[in-house]
Protein backbone atom coordinates (compact mmCIF):
# COMPACT_ATOMS: atom_id res chain seq x y z
CA UNK A 1 0.00 0.00 0.00
CA UNK A 2 1.54 3.29 -1.04
CA UNK A 3 0.89 6.68 0.43
CA UNK A 4 -1.27 7.87 -2.45
CA UNK A 5 -3.58 4.92 -2.05
CA UNK A 6 -3.81 5.63 1.61
CA UNK A 7 -4.98 9.12 0.92
CA UNK A 8 -7.73 8.00 -1.44
CA UNK A 9 -11.20 7.53 -0.03
CA UNK A 10 -11.58 3.95 1.11
CA UNK A 11 -14.29 1.62 2.33
CA UNK A 12 -14.61 0.93 6.02
CA UNK A 13 -12.19 -2.00 6.05
CA UNK A 14 -9.45 -0.07 4.30
CA UNK A 15 -10.11 2.81 6.57
CA UNK A 16 -9.51 0.61 9.55
CA UNK A 17 -6.33 -0.70 7.96
CA UNK A 18 -5.21 2.83 7.39
CA UNK A 19 -5.83 3.63 11.00
CA UNK A 20 -3.80 0.61 11.98
CA UNK A 21 -1.00 1.77 9.75
CA UNK A 22 -1.20 5.18 11.31
CA UNK A 23 -1.04 3.64 14.73
CA UNK A 24 2.01 1.70 13.60
CA UNK A 25 3.70 4.85 12.33
CA UNK A 26 2.86 6.65 15.53
CA UNK A 27 4.34 3.84 17.55
CA UNK A 28 7.51 3.92 15.51
CA UNK A 29 7.72 7.65 15.91
CA UNK A 30 7.23 7.31 19.64
CA UNK A 31 9.99 4.73 19.88
CA UNK A 32 12.28 6.90 17.78
CA UNK A 33 11.53 9.92 19.93
CA UNK A 34 12.23 7.99 23.10
CA UNK A 35 15.49 6.69 21.66
CA UNK A 36 16.57 10.17 20.71
CA UNK A 37 15.59 11.47 24.13
CA UNK A 38 17.62 8.73 25.73
CA UNK A 39 20.65 9.51 23.61
CA UNK A 40 20.33 13.20 24.42
CA UNK A 41 20.03 12.30 28.07
CA UNK A 42 23.17 10.20 27.98
CA UNK A 43 25.13 12.76 26.03
CA UNK A 44 24.03 15.48 28.46
CA UNK A 45 25.94 13.76 31.19
CA UNK A 46 29.37 15.29 30.72
CA UNK A 47 31.38 12.56 32.32
CA UNK A 48 29.56 9.87 30.40
CA UNK A 49 30.07 11.42 27.02
CA UNK A 50 33.49 12.94 27.63
CA UNK A 51 35.27 11.14 30.38
CA UNK A 52 37.67 13.52 32.04
CA UNK A 53 41.06 12.51 30.66
CA UNK A 54 42.98 13.60 33.75
CA UNK A 55 44.97 10.88 35.45
CA UNK A 56 43.15 10.16 38.67
CA UNK A 57 44.98 10.77 41.89
CA UNK A 58 43.65 7.44 43.09
CA UNK A 59 46.07 4.55 43.21
CA UNK A 60 43.74 1.75 44.09
CA UNK A 61 44.88 -1.81 44.36
CA UNK A 62 43.20 -4.19 41.95
CA UNK A 63 43.32 -7.98 42.05
CA UNK A 64 42.89 -10.63 39.39
CA UNK A 65 39.70 -12.62 39.16
CA UNK A 66 40.64 -15.48 36.85
CA UNK A 67 38.41 -16.69 34.04
CA UNK A 68 35.89 -19.29 35.05
CA UNK A 69 32.28 -20.31 35.15
CA UNK A 70 29.42 -18.50 36.80
CA UNK A 71 26.23 -20.45 37.35
CA UNK A 72 23.39 -18.00 36.67
CA UNK A 73 21.04 -17.60 39.58
CA UNK A 74 18.01 -17.68 37.34
CA UNK A 75 17.41 -20.81 35.36
CA UNK A 76 16.03 -19.01 32.37
CA UNK A 77 19.17 -17.10 31.55
CA UNK A 78 21.12 -20.12 30.39
CA UNK A 79 20.93 -23.45 32.04
CA UNK A 80 24.61 -24.05 31.75
CA UNK A 81 27.20 -21.90 33.47
CA UNK A 82 28.37 -18.69 31.80
CA UNK A 83 32.09 -18.41 31.10
CA UNK A 84 33.39 -15.20 32.62
CA UNK A 85 36.60 -13.81 31.17
CA UNK A 86 39.41 -12.88 33.51
CA UNK A 87 39.31 -9.31 34.80
CA UNK A 88 40.83 -7.12 37.47
CA UNK A 89 38.67 -5.77 40.26
CA UNK A 90 39.13 -3.09 42.89
CA UNK A 91 40.24 -4.78 46.07
CA UNK A 92 37.69 -2.77 48.05
CA UNK A 93 34.64 -0.64 47.43
CA UNK A 94 35.30 2.99 46.47
CA UNK A 95 35.67 5.05 49.63
CA UNK A 96 34.46 8.51 50.62
CA UNK A 97 38.02 9.82 50.35
CA UNK A 98 38.46 8.41 46.85
CA UNK A 99 35.10 9.75 45.75
CA UNK A 100 36.08 13.18 47.05
CA UNK A 101 38.97 13.23 44.56
CA UNK A 102 36.48 12.44 41.81
CA UNK A 103 34.14 15.31 42.64
CA UNK A 104 37.11 17.67 43.02
CA UNK A 105 38.10 16.84 39.45
CA UNK A 106 34.53 16.74 38.13
CA UNK A 107 32.52 19.69 39.48
CA UNK A 108 29.36 18.49 37.74
CA UNK A 109 29.27 15.57 40.16
CA UNK A 110 29.35 17.74 43.29
CA UNK A 111 26.19 17.42 45.30
CA UNK A 112 25.02 20.97 44.62
CA UNK A 113 25.65 20.66 40.88
CA UNK A 114 24.46 17.19 40.09
CA UNK A 115 21.86 16.84 37.37
CA UNK A 116 18.67 15.47 38.98
CA UNK A 117 18.19 13.18 36.00
CA UNK A 118 21.28 11.27 37.07
CA UNK A 119 20.98 11.25 40.84
CA UNK A 120 17.97 11.60 43.12
CA UNK A 121 17.75 14.00 46.05
CA UNK A 122 19.68 11.65 48.33
CA UNK A 123 22.87 11.98 46.29
CA UNK A 124 25.73 12.20 48.80
CA UNK A 125 23.09 13.16 51.37
CA UNK A 126 25.44 12.19 54.19
CA UNK A 127 28.23 14.55 53.09
CA UNK A 128 28.55 17.87 54.79
CA UNK A 129 29.27 19.86 51.64
CA UNK A 130 30.35 19.67 48.04
CA UNK A 131 33.96 19.04 49.01
CA UNK A 132 33.53 18.13 52.64
CA UNK A 133 32.81 14.59 53.73
CA UNK A 134 31.78 15.46 57.27
CA UNK A 135 31.62 13.25 60.34
CA UNK A 136 28.28 11.41 60.42
CA UNK A 137 27.60 7.70 60.66
CA UNK A 138 28.43 6.99 57.00
CA UNK A 139 31.25 9.48 56.74
CA UNK A 140 34.56 7.84 57.66
CA UNK A 141 36.98 8.69 54.85
CA UNK A 142 37.76 4.99 54.44
CA UNK A 143 34.15 3.85 54.63
CA UNK A 144 32.60 2.93 51.29
CA UNK A 145 30.93 5.86 49.59
CA UNK A 146 27.16 5.37 49.55
CA UNK A 147 24.21 7.47 48.36
CA UNK A 148 25.65 7.45 44.85
CA UNK A 149 23.59 6.68 41.76
CA UNK A 150 24.43 4.22 38.99
CA UNK A 151 25.15 7.17 36.70
CA UNK A 152 27.57 8.58 39.25
CA UNK A 153 29.27 5.24 39.81
CA UNK A 154 29.63 4.81 36.05
CA UNK A 155 31.06 8.29 35.67
CA UNK A 156 33.55 7.60 38.46
CA UNK A 157 34.61 4.36 36.78
CA UNK A 158 35.23 6.14 33.47
CA UNK A 159 37.17 8.85 35.22
CA UNK A 160 39.32 6.18 36.87
CA UNK A 161 39.89 4.46 33.53
CA UNK A 162 37.77 1.50 34.60
CA UNK A 163 34.19 0.29 34.31
CA UNK A 164 31.45 -1.20 36.47
CA UNK A 165 31.34 -5.00 36.75
CA UNK A 166 28.58 -6.96 35.04
CA UNK A 167 26.32 -9.12 37.19
CA UNK A 168 28.11 -12.37 36.16
CA UNK A 169 31.47 -10.75 36.92
CA UNK A 170 30.32 -9.42 40.26
CA UNK A 171 28.66 -12.67 41.24
CA UNK A 172 31.70 -14.74 40.23
CA UNK A 173 33.93 -12.45 42.27
CA UNK A 174 31.43 -12.41 45.15
CA UNK A 175 31.25 -16.20 45.24
CA UNK A 176 34.97 -16.39 45.96
CA UNK A 177 35.78 -18.64 48.89
CA UNK A 178 36.20 -16.71 52.15
CA UNK A 179 39.69 -16.84 53.60
CA UNK A 180 39.06 -15.73 57.14
CA UNK A 181 35.56 -16.76 58.18
CA UNK A 182 36.48 -20.01 59.91
CA UNK A 183 34.01 -22.79 59.25
CA UNK A 184 31.12 -20.50 58.44
CA UNK A 185 29.68 -20.85 54.94
CA UNK A 186 29.42 -17.74 52.84
CA UNK A 187 25.62 -17.92 52.72
CA UNK A 188 25.42 -18.28 56.48
CA UNK A 189 27.75 -15.30 56.85
CA UNK A 190 25.60 -13.15 54.56
CA UNK A 191 22.36 -14.13 56.25
CA UNK A 192 23.96 -13.25 59.57
CA UNK A 193 24.59 -9.78 58.16
CA UNK A 194 20.85 -9.36 57.54
CA UNK A 195 20.01 -10.67 60.97
CA UNK A 196 21.90 -7.84 62.62
CA UNK A 197 20.74 -4.26 62.80
CA UNK A 198 22.71 -1.62 60.93
CA UNK A 199 25.77 -0.64 62.95
CA UNK A 200 25.87 2.76 64.59
CA UNK A 201 28.62 3.73 62.14
CA UNK A 202 29.22 2.28 58.70
CA UNK A 203 32.54 0.40 59.05
CA UNK A 204 35.54 1.14 56.87
CA UNK A 205 36.58 -1.03 53.94
CA UNK A 206 38.65 -4.15 54.79
CA UNK A 207 36.63 -4.55 57.97
CA UNK A 208 34.70 -7.71 57.08
CA UNK A 209 36.31 -10.61 55.22
CA UNK A 210 38.82 -11.41 52.50
CA UNK A 211 38.17 -13.92 49.74
CA UNK A 212 40.33 -16.24 47.66
CA UNK A 213 40.93 -13.61 44.98
CA UNK A 214 42.11 -11.04 47.50
CA UNK A 215 38.84 -9.08 47.44
CA UNK A 216 37.59 -7.48 50.62
CA UNK A 217 33.99 -7.05 51.82
CA UNK A 218 32.20 -8.55 48.82
CA UNK A 219 29.38 -9.21 51.28
CA UNK A 220 28.51 -7.85 54.68
CA UNK A 221 29.45 -4.18 54.27
CA UNK A 222 27.32 -2.49 51.58
CA UNK A 223 25.48 -3.48 48.40
CA UNK A 224 27.33 -2.63 45.19
CA UNK A 225 26.13 -1.36 41.83
CA UNK A 226 26.61 -3.54 38.78
CA UNK A 227 26.65 -2.31 35.21
CA UNK A 228 23.57 -4.30 34.19
CA UNK A 229 21.79 -4.33 37.54
CA UNK A 230 18.30 -4.30 36.04
CA UNK A 231 18.69 -6.71 33.18
CA UNK A 232 17.66 -9.74 35.13
CA UNK A 233 14.16 -8.84 36.21
CA UNK A 234 12.81 -6.70 33.42
CA UNK A 235 12.39 -8.05 29.96
CA UNK A 236 13.15 -5.66 27.15
CA UNK A 237 9.54 -5.03 26.24
CA UNK A 238 7.44 -2.44 27.96
CA UNK A 239 4.95 -4.63 29.73
CA UNK A 240 6.49 -3.89 33.08
CA UNK A 241 7.31 -7.50 33.69
CA UNK A 242 3.72 -8.54 34.15
CA UNK A 243 4.12 -11.35 31.64
CA UNK A 244 7.59 -12.16 32.79
CA UNK A 245 7.69 -15.49 34.52
CA UNK A 246 11.26 -14.85 35.44
CA UNK A 247 10.47 -12.58 38.34
CA UNK A 248 11.68 -13.19 41.81
CA UNK A 249 8.61 -11.69 43.39
CA UNK A 250 6.07 -13.97 44.90
CA UNK A 251 5.80 -17.69 44.75
CA UNK A 252 5.79 -18.17 41.01
CA UNK A 253 9.18 -16.54 40.67
CA UNK A 254 10.89 -19.10 42.82
CA UNK A 255 10.40 -21.68 40.08
CA UNK A 256 13.03 -19.94 38.02
CA UNK A 257 15.76 -20.07 40.58
CA UNK A 258 18.72 -22.45 40.40
CA UNK A 259 19.35 -22.87 44.07
CA UNK A 260 16.22 -22.36 46.12
CA UNK A 261 18.21 -22.34 49.34
CA UNK A 262 20.52 -19.54 48.30
CA UNK A 263 18.54 -16.96 50.25
CA UNK A 264 21.40 -14.52 50.07
CA UNK A 265 21.42 -14.74 46.27
CA UNK A 266 17.68 -14.21 46.25
CA UNK A 267 18.04 -11.06 48.28
CA UNK A 268 20.73 -9.67 46.00
CA UNK A 269 18.70 -10.24 42.87
CA UNK A 270 15.53 -8.86 44.46
CA UNK A 271 17.45 -5.84 45.62
CA UNK A 272 18.90 -5.18 42.17
CA UNK A 273 15.45 -5.56 40.66
CA UNK A 274 14.11 -2.73 42.80
CA UNK A 275 16.74 -0.23 41.67
CA UNK A 276 16.65 2.60 39.19
CA UNK A 277 19.73 4.27 37.80
CA UNK A 278 19.25 7.53 39.66
CA UNK A 279 18.62 6.00 43.08
CA UNK A 280 20.98 6.97 45.88
CA UNK A 281 20.72 4.63 48.86
CA UNK A 282 22.56 4.65 52.19
CA UNK A 283 23.70 1.02 51.91
CA UNK A 284 24.59 0.99 48.22
CA UNK A 285 28.11 1.70 46.97
CA UNK A 286 30.29 0.30 44.18
CA UNK A 287 33.68 -0.89 43.07
CA UNK A 288 35.21 -0.91 39.60
CA UNK A 289 36.75 -3.48 37.29
CA UNK A 290 39.11 -3.39 34.36
CA UNK A 291 39.72 -5.75 31.47
CA UNK A 292 43.12 -7.39 31.34
Amino acid sequence: MNIRKMLQPQGPIRFRKRLNLHAGILRMMAVATLTVLFLITVSLSPSLAHPNPSIPAIEKKMVLVPAGPYQPFLKREINKPIQVKAFRMDQTAVTNAEYLEFVKANPEWRKSNVNPLFADKNYLAHWKGDLEIGTGRYNHPNAPVVNVSWFAARAYAKWAGKRLPTVPEWERAGNGRPENLGNKTLIAYILEWYSKPNPARLPTVKSTYLNQYGLWDMHGLVWEWTFDFNSYLNSSDSRGGTQDENQLFCAAGSLGVQNKEDYAGYLRFSYRGSLKGKYCIPNLGFRCVKDL
Partner: protein, 358 residues
Protein backbone atom coordinates in the same frame (compact mmCIF):
# COMPACT_ATOMS: atom_id res chain seq x y z
CA UNK B 1 -29.67 -13.42 61.82
CA UNK B 2 -26.40 -11.93 60.76
CA UNK B 3 -25.84 -11.43 57.08
CA UNK B 4 -22.72 -9.40 57.12
CA UNK B 5 -21.23 -9.28 53.73
CA UNK B 6 -24.27 -8.96 51.48
CA UNK B 7 -27.68 -7.52 52.03
CA UNK B 8 -30.14 -10.41 52.31
CA UNK B 9 -31.76 -9.68 48.95
CA UNK B 10 -28.48 -9.62 47.08
CA UNK B 11 -27.44 -12.78 48.74
CA UNK B 12 -30.65 -14.48 47.76
CA UNK B 13 -30.23 -13.22 44.22
CA UNK B 14 -26.73 -14.68 44.03
CA UNK B 15 -27.95 -17.97 45.41
CA UNK B 16 -30.83 -18.03 42.92
CA UNK B 17 -28.55 -17.20 40.02
CA UNK B 18 -26.07 -19.77 41.20
CA UNK B 19 -28.70 -22.49 41.40
CA UNK B 20 -30.19 -21.54 38.04
CA UNK B 21 -26.86 -21.52 36.29
CA UNK B 22 -25.73 -24.75 37.90
CA UNK B 23 -28.98 -26.35 36.84
CA UNK B 24 -28.68 -25.06 33.28
CA UNK B 25 -25.07 -26.10 32.85
CA UNK B 26 -25.78 -29.46 34.40
CA UNK B 27 -28.64 -30.03 31.96
CA UNK B 28 -26.70 -28.90 28.94
CA UNK B 29 -23.60 -30.80 29.94
CA UNK B 30 -21.74 -27.49 30.09
CA UNK B 31 -18.78 -26.58 32.21
CA UNK B 32 -19.86 -26.72 35.82
CA UNK B 33 -16.97 -24.47 36.77
CA UNK B 34 -18.79 -21.50 35.32
CA UNK B 35 -20.83 -20.99 38.47
CA UNK B 36 -17.99 -19.28 40.27
CA UNK B 37 -17.45 -17.03 37.27
CA UNK B 38 -21.06 -15.93 37.45
CA UNK B 39 -20.63 -15.03 41.06
CA UNK B 40 -17.56 -12.97 40.09
CA UNK B 41 -19.45 -11.24 37.29
CA UNK B 42 -22.09 -10.31 39.78
CA UNK B 43 -19.55 -8.72 42.06
CA UNK B 44 -17.77 -6.93 39.25
CA UNK B 45 -20.91 -5.03 38.29
CA UNK B 46 -19.99 -2.31 40.69
CA UNK B 47 -21.85 0.78 39.58
CA UNK B 48 -19.70 3.12 41.59
CA UNK B 49 -16.84 4.18 39.42
CA UNK B 50 -17.44 7.65 40.78
CA UNK B 51 -16.01 8.43 44.16
CA UNK B 52 -17.64 10.54 46.80
CA UNK B 53 -14.51 12.10 48.26
CA UNK B 54 -11.10 11.37 49.71
CA UNK B 55 -10.26 9.95 53.10
CA UNK B 56 -7.09 8.81 54.77
CA UNK B 57 -7.41 5.37 56.29
CA UNK B 58 -7.03 5.04 60.04
CA UNK B 59 -4.30 2.47 60.66
CA UNK B 60 -3.88 0.68 63.97
CA UNK B 61 -1.18 -1.41 65.56
CA UNK B 62 -2.21 -4.83 66.95
CA UNK B 63 -4.29 -5.73 68.90
CA UNK B 64 -6.36 -2.67 68.01
CA UNK B 65 -8.73 -2.35 65.08
CA UNK B 66 -9.71 0.91 63.36
CA UNK B 67 -13.16 2.27 64.16
CA UNK B 68 -16.04 1.01 62.02
CA UNK B 69 -16.45 3.08 58.85
CA UNK B 70 -19.24 5.60 58.84
CA UNK B 71 -19.38 6.50 55.15
CA UNK B 72 -21.79 4.67 52.88
CA UNK B 73 -20.56 5.42 49.37
CA UNK B 74 -17.20 4.55 47.78
CA UNK B 75 -14.32 6.91 48.42
CA UNK B 76 -10.72 7.27 47.43
CA UNK B 77 -8.91 5.94 50.48
CA UNK B 78 -5.29 6.84 51.02
CA UNK B 79 -3.19 4.25 52.80
CA UNK B 80 0.48 4.83 53.50
CA UNK B 81 2.69 2.27 55.16
CA UNK B 82 6.41 2.22 55.88
CA UNK B 83 8.63 -0.82 55.98
CA UNK B 84 11.21 -0.84 58.75
CA UNK B 85 13.72 -3.47 59.77
CA UNK B 86 14.16 -3.30 63.52
CA UNK B 87 15.34 -5.26 66.51
CA UNK B 88 12.49 -6.05 68.90
CA UNK B 89 11.82 -8.55 71.65
CA UNK B 90 10.59 -11.90 70.40
CA UNK B 91 10.42 -12.95 74.04
CA UNK B 92 11.35 -11.22 77.27
CA UNK B 93 15.07 -12.01 77.02
CA UNK B 94 15.43 -12.66 73.29
CA UNK B 95 15.88 -10.13 70.48
CA UNK B 96 15.20 -10.65 66.82
CA UNK B 97 15.64 -8.43 63.75
CA UNK B 98 12.07 -8.18 62.53
CA UNK B 99 11.12 -6.88 59.12
CA UNK B 100 7.88 -4.97 59.61
CA UNK B 101 5.08 -3.02 58.04
CA UNK B 102 4.85 0.15 60.17
CA UNK B 103 7.11 -1.16 62.92
CA UNK B 104 4.86 -3.87 64.37
CA UNK B 105 4.28 -7.59 63.85
CA UNK B 106 1.75 -8.00 62.42
CA UNK B 107 1.68 -4.69 60.53
CA UNK B 108 -1.00 -2.03 60.70
CA UNK B 109 -4.62 -3.10 60.38
CA UNK B 110 -6.22 -1.50 57.32
CA UNK B 111 -9.99 -0.99 57.13
CA UNK B 112 -11.71 0.03 53.90
CA UNK B 113 -15.18 -0.35 52.42
CA UNK B 114 -16.37 -2.47 49.51
CA UNK B 115 -16.19 -0.29 46.38
CA UNK B 116 -13.47 2.02 47.69
CA UNK B 117 -10.56 2.93 45.47
CA UNK B 118 -7.54 2.36 47.65
CA UNK B 119 -4.51 4.48 46.85
CA UNK B 120 -1.69 2.59 48.45
CA UNK B 121 1.78 3.99 49.05
CA UNK B 122 4.55 1.78 50.33
CA UNK B 123 7.69 3.40 51.67
CA UNK B 124 10.88 1.54 52.48
CA UNK B 125 12.88 3.12 55.29
CA UNK B 126 16.33 4.43 54.24
CA UNK B 127 17.86 2.27 56.96
CA UNK B 128 16.55 -0.98 55.47
CA UNK B 129 19.09 -3.47 54.26
CA UNK B 130 16.94 -5.05 51.56
CA UNK B 131 14.14 -4.16 49.16
CA UNK B 132 10.51 -4.91 50.01
CA UNK B 133 7.05 -4.87 48.46
CA UNK B 134 3.46 -5.72 49.37
CA UNK B 135 0.98 -8.28 48.07
CA UNK B 136 -2.50 -7.58 49.43
CA UNK B 137 -4.83 -10.52 49.01
CA UNK B 138 -7.69 -8.01 48.73
CA UNK B 139 -6.39 -6.88 45.33
CA UNK B 140 -7.57 -8.04 41.92
CA UNK B 141 -4.45 -7.43 39.85
CA UNK B 142 -0.98 -8.83 39.13
CA UNK B 143 0.92 -9.87 42.20
CA UNK B 144 -1.65 -8.22 44.45
CA UNK B 145 0.40 -5.06 44.11
CA UNK B 146 3.77 -6.73 44.61
CA UNK B 147 5.16 -5.81 41.21
CA UNK B 148 3.93 -2.26 41.52
CA UNK B 149 5.56 -1.74 44.89
CA UNK B 150 9.00 -3.33 44.80
CA UNK B 151 10.88 -0.58 46.62
CA UNK B 152 14.55 -0.13 47.41
CA UNK B 153 15.63 1.36 50.77
CA UNK B 154 14.69 5.04 51.00
CA UNK B 155 12.28 4.84 48.06
CA UNK B 156 8.49 4.63 47.80
CA UNK B 157 5.92 3.39 45.31
CA UNK B 158 2.19 3.92 44.83
CA UNK B 159 -0.56 1.97 43.11
CA UNK B 160 -4.31 1.90 43.44
CA UNK B 161 -6.84 -0.90 43.48
CA UNK B 162 -10.60 -1.20 43.72
CA UNK B 163 -11.76 -3.11 46.80
CA UNK B 164 -14.16 -5.37 44.88
CA UNK B 165 -14.54 -8.32 47.20
CA UNK B 166 -15.61 -7.80 50.82
CA UNK B 167 -13.82 -9.91 53.40
CA UNK B 168 -10.80 -10.13 55.68
CA UNK B 169 -7.55 -10.48 53.77
CA UNK B 170 -3.90 -11.08 54.55
CA UNK B 171 -1.25 -8.81 53.13
CA UNK B 172 2.43 -9.69 53.10
CA UNK B 173 5.76 -8.87 51.56
CA UNK B 174 6.41 -10.84 48.39
CA UNK B 175 10.01 -9.92 47.63
CA UNK B 176 12.24 -12.94 47.10
CA UNK B 177 12.91 -14.95 49.11
CA UNK B 178 9.27 -14.56 50.10
CA UNK B 179 9.41 -17.14 52.86
CA UNK B 180 12.18 -15.28 54.63
CA UNK B 181 10.41 -11.91 54.45
CA UNK B 182 7.29 -13.50 55.95
CA UNK B 183 9.27 -15.45 58.53
CA UNK B 184 10.71 -12.10 59.65
CA UNK B 185 7.20 -10.77 60.36
CA UNK B 186 6.10 -9.06 57.15
CA UNK B 187 2.34 -9.56 57.15
CA UNK B 188 -0.89 -8.03 58.38
CA UNK B 189 -4.62 -7.79 57.70
CA UNK B 190 -6.86 -5.62 55.57
CA UNK B 191 -10.62 -5.68 56.15
CA UNK B 192 -12.85 -4.80 53.23
CA UNK B 193 -16.11 -4.04 55.00
CA UNK B 194 -19.21 -5.07 53.10
CA UNK B 195 -21.21 -2.14 51.74
CA UNK B 196 -23.77 -2.66 54.49
CA UNK B 197 -21.06 -2.54 57.17
CA UNK B 198 -20.21 -5.00 59.91
CA UNK B 199 -22.80 -5.58 62.66
CA UNK B 200 -21.95 -3.75 65.83
CA UNK B 201 -20.20 -5.67 68.61
CA UNK B 202 -18.76 -4.61 71.95
CA UNK B 203 -15.09 -5.24 71.15
CA UNK B 204 -13.02 -5.78 68.03
CA UNK B 205 -9.44 -7.03 68.29
CA UNK B 206 -6.65 -7.92 65.87
CA UNK B 207 -4.61 -11.08 66.28
CA UNK B 208 -2.26 -12.72 63.84
CA UNK B 209 -0.34 -15.93 64.10
CA UNK B 210 3.10 -16.49 62.61
CA UNK B 211 5.92 -19.02 62.84
CA UNK B 212 9.53 -17.97 63.51
CA UNK B 213 12.85 -19.73 62.99
CA UNK B 214 15.93 -18.83 65.03
CA UNK B 215 19.39 -20.34 65.39
CA UNK B 216 19.03 -20.47 69.16
CA UNK B 217 16.44 -22.51 71.03
CA UNK B 218 13.09 -21.16 72.23
CA UNK B 219 13.71 -18.13 74.47
CA UNK B 220 17.50 -18.48 74.31
CA UNK B 221 18.76 -15.03 75.39
CA UNK B 222 20.42 -12.50 73.11
CA UNK B 223 19.96 -11.43 69.52
CA UNK B 224 18.93 -14.46 67.51
CA UNK B 225 19.47 -14.99 63.80
CA UNK B 226 17.02 -16.33 61.25
CA UNK B 227 17.59 -20.05 60.68
CA UNK B 228 17.08 -20.83 57.02
CA UNK B 229 17.37 -24.58 57.44
CA UNK B 230 14.67 -24.76 60.12
CA UNK B 231 12.42 -22.66 57.90
CA UNK B 232 12.87 -24.98 54.94
CA UNK B 233 12.23 -27.96 57.24
CA UNK B 234 9.08 -26.21 58.57
CA UNK B 235 10.36 -26.70 62.08
CA UNK B 236 9.64 -23.41 63.87
CA UNK B 237 11.33 -22.30 67.05
CA UNK B 238 8.41 -20.01 67.86
CA UNK B 239 4.72 -19.99 66.96
CA UNK B 240 3.34 -16.67 68.09
CA UNK B 241 0.35 -14.42 68.20
CA UNK B 242 1.31 -10.84 67.40
CA UNK B 243 5.01 -11.50 67.10
CA UNK B 244 6.12 -12.01 70.67
CA UNK B 245 5.89 -14.59 73.42
CA UNK B 246 3.28 -13.23 75.89
CA UNK B 247 2.43 -10.33 73.57
CA UNK B 248 -1.21 -10.51 74.61
CA UNK B 249 -1.27 -12.09 78.05
CA UNK B 250 -1.35 -10.88 81.64
CA UNK B 251 -1.68 -7.11 81.75
CA UNK B 252 -1.87 -7.09 77.95
CA UNK B 253 -4.76 -9.57 77.81
CA UNK B 254 -7.69 -8.39 75.68
CA UNK B 255 -10.32 -6.94 78.04
CA UNK B 256 -14.07 -7.64 77.97
CA UNK B 257 -16.96 -7.72 80.40
CA UNK B 258 -19.45 -10.47 81.14
CA UNK B 259 -22.25 -10.37 78.58
CA UNK B 260 -20.22 -8.56 75.96
CA UNK B 261 -19.51 -9.86 72.49
CA UNK B 262 -15.93 -9.98 71.28
CA UNK B 263 -15.02 -10.11 67.61
CA UNK B 264 -11.51 -11.23 66.69
CA UNK B 265 -10.07 -10.49 63.29
CA UNK B 266 -7.61 -13.34 63.03
CA UNK B 267 -4.94 -13.84 60.40
CA UNK B 268 -2.24 -16.38 59.85
CA UNK B 269 0.91 -15.08 58.23
CA UNK B 270 2.69 -18.43 58.26
CA UNK B 271 5.00 -18.79 56.40
CA UNK B 272 4.52 -22.50 56.95
CA UNK B 273 1.97 -23.56 59.54
CA UNK B 274 -1.81 -23.65 59.42
CA UNK B 275 -3.54 -22.74 62.66
CA UNK B 276 -6.06 -24.81 64.59
CA UNK B 277 -7.50 -21.67 66.12
CA UNK B 278 -9.28 -22.21 69.41
CA UNK B 279 -10.26 -20.31 72.55
CA UNK B 280 -10.09 -22.50 75.62
CA UNK B 281 -13.40 -22.31 77.54
CA UNK B 282 -15.39 -20.58 74.82
CA UNK B 283 -17.34 -21.53 71.74
CA UNK B 284 -17.37 -19.31 68.69
CA UNK B 285 -20.99 -18.21 68.24
CA UNK B 286 -20.17 -17.17 64.70
CA UNK B 287 -17.22 -17.83 62.40
CA UNK B 288 -16.89 -16.04 59.08
CA UNK B 289 -15.28 -19.00 57.44
CA UNK B 290 -11.92 -18.21 55.85
CA UNK B 291 -12.72 -14.52 56.30
CA UNK B 292 -15.42 -14.64 53.62
CA UNK B 293 -19.21 -14.46 53.48
CA UNK B 294 -20.29 -17.77 54.90
CA UNK B 295 -21.05 -17.79 58.60
CA UNK B 296 -20.80 -20.94 60.60
CA UNK B 297 -22.25 -21.22 64.11
CA UNK B 298 -21.18 -23.00 67.27
CA UNK B 299 -17.60 -23.77 66.33
CA UNK B 300 -14.95 -25.06 68.76
CA UNK B 301 -11.83 -24.85 66.56
CA UNK B 302 -11.52 -23.21 63.18
CA UNK B 303 -8.79 -23.84 60.65
CA UNK B 304 -6.86 -20.81 59.43
CA UNK B 305 -4.46 -21.58 56.60
CA UNK B 306 -1.15 -19.78 56.15
CA UNK B 307 -1.98 -16.69 54.15
CA UNK B 308 -5.61 -16.89 55.29
CA UNK B 309 -7.93 -15.38 57.85
CA UNK B 310 -11.06 -15.83 59.90
CA UNK B 311 -13.43 -13.60 61.83
CA UNK B 312 -14.72 -15.14 65.03
CA UNK B 313 -17.31 -13.80 67.43
CA UNK B 314 -18.19 -14.96 70.91
CA UNK B 315 -20.29 -13.66 73.72
CA UNK B 316 -18.40 -13.89 76.99
CA UNK B 317 -20.81 -15.36 79.55
CA UNK B 318 -18.54 -16.11 82.50
CA UNK B 319 -15.73 -14.07 84.09
CA UNK B 320 -12.17 -15.40 83.90
CA UNK B 321 -9.11 -15.63 81.72
CA UNK B 322 -9.54 -17.34 78.36
CA UNK B 323 -6.52 -18.66 76.52
CA UNK B 324 -6.44 -18.21 72.78
CA UNK B 325 -4.32 -21.02 71.30
CA UNK B 326 -3.27 -22.91 68.25
CA UNK B 327 -4.77 -26.23 69.33
CA UNK B 328 -1.81 -28.07 67.85
CA UNK B 329 -0.87 -27.77 71.50
CA UNK B 330 2.88 -28.16 71.55
CA UNK B 331 2.91 -24.88 69.67
CA UNK B 332 0.89 -23.28 72.45
CA UNK B 333 2.79 -24.60 75.46
CA UNK B 334 6.29 -24.96 74.02
CA UNK B 335 6.52 -22.41 71.25
CA UNK B 336 4.51 -19.47 72.52
CA UNK B 337 1.15 -19.65 70.71
CA UNK B 338 -0.98 -18.29 73.55
CA UNK B 339 -2.89 -15.04 73.86
CA UNK B 340 -5.58 -14.17 76.40
CA UNK B 341 -8.96 -12.56 76.80
CA UNK B 342 -9.68 -11.36 80.32
CA UNK B 343 -13.37 -11.19 81.19
CA UNK B 344 -14.46 -9.26 84.26
CA UNK B 345 -17.89 -9.05 85.91
CA UNK B 346 -20.22 -11.03 88.08
CA UNK B 347 -20.17 -14.79 88.29
CA UNK B 348 -22.86 -16.43 86.20
CA UNK B 349 -23.86 -19.69 87.92
CA UNK B 350 -26.66 -20.20 85.42
CA UNK B 351 -23.98 -20.92 82.90
CA UNK B 352 -21.02 -22.13 84.91
CA UNK B 353 -20.19 -22.83 88.53
CA UNK B 354 -17.66 -24.95 90.26
CA UNK B 355 -19.49 -27.23 92.67
CA UNK B 356 -17.57 -27.94 95.88
CA UNK B 357 -16.60 -31.56 96.45
CA UNK B 358 -17.84 -33.55 99.50
Amino acid sequence: MNHKFQPLLQKTAIAAAFVAVSFMTACSGGNAGSSSNDNKTFQRNWPDTTLSGDVTAELTAPPLVPKPLTYTTPKRVKVEMTVTEKVMKISDSTDYTFWTFDGTVPGSFIRVREGDLVEFTLKNSPDSKVSHNIDLHAVNGPGGGAEATNVAPGQSATFHFRALNPGLYVYHCATGPVGMHIANGMYGLILVEPAAGMPKVDHEYYIMQGDFYTKGKFEQPGLQEFDEEKAVDENPTYVLFNGRVRSTTGKNALPAKVGETVRLYVGNGGPNLSSSFHVIGEIFDRVYMEGGNIINHNVQTTMIPAGGSSIVEMQMEVPGVYNIVDHALYRAFHKGAIAQIKVTGNENPNVFEKVKNK
